[in-house]
């Protein structure tokens, strides 16, 4: 349980959470925001595995994508709520 919680927290404070949120704030389209966040999740897992997909843990990848998608959607919500453009 702590392993999963730690992975989630690590992703929130790492690229999927922060860059995903920032990219989500760049669009008003929910799907685009979610995709951007998901792509960041995949990219981050790939980078941290030493650019070797064979070393990617499926659970880590799933959590990174999930956090990225949620962060992207939250970023999009911030854009819609807090900007007129």
């Amino acid at each position: 349980m702590l392993d999963i919680l730690g992975t989630i927290a690590g992703n929130i404070l790492s690229l999927p959470g922060i860059l995903g949120l920032a990219l989500g704030m760049m669009t008003r389209n929910l799907l685009v925001a979610a995709i951007l966040g998901g792509v960041v999740g995949v990219a981050e897992t790939y980078i941290f595995s030493g650019f070797d997909f064979a070393r990617v843990e499926p659970l880590d990848l799933a959590i990174a994508i999930g956090v990225g998608v949620i962060a992207g959607c939250v970023g999009r919500a911030i854009r819609v709520r807090g900007a007129t453009v």
Partner: protein, 212 residues
């Protein structure tokens, strides 16, 4: 007849803060907000990182009573005392350097505070009862990560086998050839080994191999 706005119910405190938070600023320029946001971000991130690093020191680790026994064991090893004076402290072996994995390790270490409070390993007897379980957790992590924390300092690529002891050089060459990782041989490198450690380690290694 004009509407009488004064009859409308005034929003609650939290709602007013929420509305104010999302309202455009009427007195601050975009530049001010950007610079203030940047400075606030630097201070918040710097403060967070500083606090995290404060928990990443040997002094912090051994400030808990539960750490007394493993600290004593560690001080008898070459990672504490050696001819060169280069040391590997608690976080060097137990906390990853990579940011994401470091945060994960810190979250997982929160359970240590709970066990310190309830005294899970506050006597030698209790410590021995839990030694195999604790060691298994560390071995599993080391094996899964190809001994990532060891490799922050040690690397096969830069080992000069010609100046190693004959047995060590032969074993390191064998490990290199067979794709083994540090923890496969060095389970008790910094702390005492529990009874039945070899059988347990083989179980861990076989379990991880089967999961691949």
């Amino acid at each position: 007849m004009a509407n009488n706005d004064s009859n409308e119910k005034r929003p609650g405190f939290i709602r007013r803060i929420w509305n104010g938070f999302w309202s455009p600023s009427g007195v601050l320029s975009l530049g001010f907000l950007l610079i203030a946001g940047f400075l606030g971000g630097v201070m918040a991130w710097g403060g967070f990182h500083w606090a995290l690093e404060e928990t990443n020191t040997e002094e912090f680790c051994i400030s808990c009573h539960s750490m007394t026994k493993n600290w004593d064991e560690y001080t008898d090893t070459i990672h504490y005392n050696n001819h060169s004076g280069v040391r590997a402290t608690c976080p060097d072996c137990h906390v990853p350097h990579e940011w994401q994995y470091k945060v994960k390790a810190k979250i997982m270490a929160s359970k240590d505070l709970y066990h310190e409070i309830i005294g899970t390993i506050d006597t030698d007897e209790k410590y021995e009862d839990h030694r195999l379980k604790m060691a298994t957790a560390v071995w599993t992590k080391m094996k899964k990560t190809d001994s990532r924390e060891c490799r922050n300092c040690h690397s096969f690529e830069y080992m000069d086998f010609t100046i190693q002891e004959t047995r060590a050089a032969a074993d390191h060459q064998k490990a290199l050839d067979e794709g083994k990782t540090c923890i496969d041989c060095h389970q008790g490198i910094a702390h005492g080994l529990p009874t039945g450690y070899l059988e347990r380690y083989e179980t861990v290694a076989e379990g991880l191999e089967a999961a691949k």
